[in-house]
Each structure stands twice: as structure tokens, then as C-alpha cells.
């Protein structure tokens, strides 16, 4: 009996040893081949976007990433001579994904803030936006009601709209903290909750807000002048890429394609 057990054990050990030795061999080869490819062809950078942030970055009906920012980086990549792969990442963990090297940049309408700038580098600003507040058409709330802090406000987790409410309404004691629902993982779900009247207001950057409320019984009642600037976030340890992207953005904004893009995504007032 014991001999049999030892036999089985021995077989397992050998199998494991073989499996692991196999692992190291192949991974070694893979690494080598990746390196050679890098030398032969251009570098590929992985660009992280919020998959539900139209018109800047979103996934179209065919499942391809598209949008103002996506087209911008594709154009920049072509001019600056690198390849890009665009992947959607959960917005509230997009900066850690960048820091962990899962993506190489965030080009998805990210507002430049002090807190974020402590974690990552930002390119030159390429766009300016304000926050907007929307309500359900069945209600007659005004901006004064929004500012009174007595009503429930919905916002996507980790967005500047949520931060604005925290800093200007909650931290000042105007609004009780439980009136801010900043737990939505995507903005469309916050808009859905306004449609279901679970929240009284939603707050978000203006252009994606317009997209989110289109065709729904929701309307924008006011704008908050935050004058936020969008920039591309890049790892602090990657200053060369920052320079390349900065040059690319400067080039893009001087090109006629920049105006074409603005028209294509309906961003001219």
C-alpha cells in the first residue's frame, strides 16, 4: 500500500517538475521573440480609455473603440511613428492600471487635477470643459435646488463631477454626505437612475452628458464653470513618451484634421 502511495507521489513530482521546466523554457523563448520584434518594427503603446465616455472615447456598435480622443491618438501615432492598441479600462482604477504598466497612457478626456498629477504626468491640455447638471423633465428643480444640497445627486465614481460636489457642497457642510451617490461605475447607469428617479440630479462633464441624456426625458439645467482641462496621463517613469505625445498634440491642434474631428463629433458650439 505505502509503496503504491510513494509511486503516485513520485509520478506527481516528476510531472510537476516537467511542467515547470516547460514553462520557463517557453517563456524565455517568448521574451526573446518579443524583443526581436520590437527592434524590427515600431513600438506599440497600449492606450487606456473609459469605454463609455462618448464623444471622446467609447465602443461603437461593432465593438471597436472610437471617439474624438481615440481618433486623435491614432492620428498622433501615425505621425509620430508608433502603433497603438486601445483598450477600455474601469475608470476608477485607470490610474493604478497605468502605474502598474497594464496600459501606457490614458487618453480619454481625463481632467488634469493636482491629486492625479501627483500620481502621473500629464501632457499639455488639449480641451476645456465645464461640469453640467441635469434633472428629470417631470421635476421642476432649479440650479438653486441643486446647490441647496437637499436633494440626491448621482455621479460616476472617481470623476471630477463627484469631486466637485464633495469639495463644494459636502466639505462646506451644505450637503449631507449621503445625498451624493458617487458609486456608479459608468455614467450611463447614473443617467438610468435619474430616469428611474432614484436620484434628483446628475453631474458630469458637458459633452458626454449631452450624449448620455439624448433621447431621454432628461435635460441640462445648468453649467458650473470649473474650466477643467483635459490631458493625456502618462507614467512618471516614461518622460520620453510624454514628449512624443506633447509634440503629437501640438501638431494635431495645428492641423486641419483637428477641426474635422471637432465637426465629426459635434463639438463645435
Amino acid at each position: 500500500m505505502t509503496k503504491k502511495v510513494y509511486g503516485v507521489f513520485l509520478v506527481l513530482v516528476i510531472a510537476l517538475a516537467m511542467a515547470f521546466s516547460g514553462c520557463t523554457d517557453t517563456s524565455g523563448e517568448e521574451q526573446k521573440s518579443v524583443e526581436t520584434i520590437k527592434i524590427e518594427t515600431t513600438t506599440t503603446y497600449i492606450v487606456g480609455i473609459d469605454g463609455e465616455y462618448p464623444p471622446y472615447a467609447y465602443i461603437d456598435t461593432d465593438g471597436n473603440p472610437t471617439g474624438f480622443d481615440v481618433d486623435s491618438i491614432k492620428w498622433i501615432a501615425e505621425k509620430m511613428g508608433f502603433e497603438v492598441e486601445i483598450i477600455p479600462v474601469a475608470w476608477d482604477s485607470i490610474i493604478p492600471s497605468l502605474q502598474a504598466g497594464k496600459i501606457d497612457m490614458v487618453y480619454s478626456g481625463m481632467t488634469i487635477t493636482e491629486e492625479r498629477a501627483e500620481q502621473v504626468n500629464f501632457s499639455i491640455p488639449y480641451w476645456k470643459v465645464n461640469q453640467t447638471v441635469a434633472k428629470h423633465d417631470d421635476t421642476s428643480y432649479t440650479m438653486d435646488d441643486f446647490m441647496s444640497g437637499e436633494y440626491v445627486v448621482g455621479a460616476q465614481s472617481g470623476t471630477t463631477g463627484a469631486f466637485w460636489v464633495e469639495e463644494n457642497l459636502i466639505d462646506t457642510g451644505i450637503m449631507p454626505a449621503e445625498n451624493l451617490k458617487n458609486t456608479y461605475s459608468s455614467f450611463p447607469s447614473a443617467a438610468a437612475d435619474l430616469e428611474n428617479k432614484r436620484v434628483d440630479f446628475i453631474i458630469y462633464d458637458k459633452p458626454p452628458m449631452l450624449e448620455a441624456i439624448e433621447g431621454k426625458p432628461l435635460s441640462i439645467i445648468g453649467e458650473i464653470d470649473t474650466n477643467e482641462e483635459y490631458g493625456v496621463a502618462i507614467r512618471k517613469s516614461d518622460p520620453e513618451l510624454l514628449e512624443t505625445v506633447n509634440d503629437g498634440i501640438t501638431m494635431l491642434m495645428e492641423d486641419t484634421y483637428w477641426d474635422e474631428l471637432k465637426v465629426q463629433y459635434g463639438m463645435v458650439d
Binding site: D92, P96, S157, T183, S189, E195, R198
Partner: protein, 222 residues
């Protein structure tokens, strides 16, 4: 801000509020999950053709549907037909359905392990069908189902974190909000994980005690 003040003044208070919500979710869901599980198991084993079929369909539906999807349906889809649950209600209903479906399978297995001769014996003593189920079969079956049920209870503790997807700030959600705001992913998630581990450990010990206390006399070691 150094790490210790961050943990003591920001992280732990936030996690504590989240923990309260997690415990509320579990305490409300678990008893109904067990009761409904017993109902479904009995209905499936002893109910006539139609109740048995309905119970089978219910279990199939819940098993086949990811819990997250079920929660989304309860929260985001039902308002379109006029049923609007709060995030807490939707989560609890979803958890009870899921918990009941899996519990019913553990209980059904335990019911099947009770020899049929016992029902025949009970009936011959003049008990009705339901008397023999409730006084003879279930007391034995439920005891045998304890390990399975406690397992499902532990799952409930962990899948209660899905309530965050319906905007409810429970333990995981509270941790995620703090982690996002202060960029402290490692510290935060280590603490969140430790709290879940404590909850699960308490449950495991508790279930062991219940199992011992309600062990069928003379049936040990079988």
C-alpha cells in the same frame, strides 16, 4: 499624511460603515435564503408535478444566470415595467433568490439521503405525508445539510460585495471608494480582505459549533 493616521482616521471608519451595510445585507438575506431553500427543496422532492417543475425551473434559472446580471435586472430593468426597488431591496431580493436556489440543492441532497422506508414507517403510524416530511425527514435532512448550508452562507458573505454594482456602499465598495480617492490600493484592499477573512472565520467556527450541537445522536462517524 502618514500611513498610520490614514488607516486610523480615514480607512477604518469608512470600512466600518461599509461593514455595517454588508452585515445588514447578510442578516436580512440569509434567513429567507434558508427558508426559501427548504421550501424549494421540499417542493421539488415531494410537491406534485407542477410545483416540482416550477421549483426546478427556478433553480435552473438562478443557477444559469450570473448573480450580477440578476441584480442588474432587478435594479435597472424592472423600473421600465413600473417596479422600482431601492438598491438595498434589489440586492437583498437577488441574494435571497441565489442563496435559496443553491441551498435547495444542498437540502435536496440531504433529503434524498434519508431512507424512504422512514416515510413509509411514519405513514403506517398514521402520520400524514406532510407530517412525516416535517417531523421525520426534514429534522434529519437539515442536520446533514449544515456543512453545505454553511458553505453557501460563506459564499453569501463574499457575493454581498456585488451590491456595490447597484451603488450600495458595502465593505468592498467603501474600500474601493477610499482606494480611488487616496490612491491607496494596496493598504485598503489588504484591510478589506482581512475583514472578510475574519467574517468567514467566525462563520466557519459558528457552523462547526452548530453542527456539533445538532449532531444526530448515535450517528457519528457514519
Amino acid at each position: 499624511m502618514d500611513n498610520l493616521t490614514f488607516i486610523a482616521e480615514i480607512l477604518l471608519p469608512a470600512l466600518l460603515t461599509g461593514l455595517v451595510v454588508t452585515i445588514q445585507l447578510i442578516v436580512v438575506s440569509a434567513p429567507f435564503g434558508i427558508l426559501a431553500g427548504i421550501g424549494v427543496a421540499v417542493g421539488r422532492t415531494y410537491g406534485g408535478k407542477i410545483p416540482s417543475f416550477l421549483c426546478k425551473v427556478f433553480v435552473m434559472f438562478v443557477k444559469g444566470c450570473p448573480l450580477l446580471l440578476l441584480l442588474f435586472i432587478l435594479y435597472f430593468t424592472l423600473p421600465s415595467i413600473g417596479i422600482t426597488f431601492t438598491a438595498f431591496q434589489a440586492s437583498v431580493i437577488g441574494f435571497i433568490m441565489c442563496n435559496a436556489a443553491y441551498n435547495s440543492e444542498y437540502i435536496r441532497g440531504a433529503i434524498k439521503s434519508v431512507k424512504e422506508g422512514q416515510i413509509i414507517a411514519a405513514r403506517s403510524l398514521g402520520m400524514t405525508k406532510y407530517q412525516s416530511i416535517f417531523y421525520i425527514v426534514l429534522p434529519q435532512a437539515l442536520r446533514r445539510a449544515i456543512p453545505g448550508l454553511s458553505n453557501e452562507f460563506i459564499y453569501l458573505i463574499k457575493y454581498s460585495s456585488l451590491a456595490f454594482m447597484l451603488t450600495l456602499v458595502e465593505l468592498t465598495g467603501a474600500g474601493k471608494l477610499i482606494a480611488t480617492k487616496y490612491f491607496t490600493y494596496t493598504e485598503t484592499f489588504i484591510f478589506v480582505g482581512a475583514i472578510y477573512l475574519v467574517l468567514v472565520t467566525i462563520t466557519t467556527i459558528g457552523a462547526g459549533m452548530i453542527e456539533k450541537k445538532y449532531a444526530i445522536p448515535g450517528a457519528q462517524g457514519r
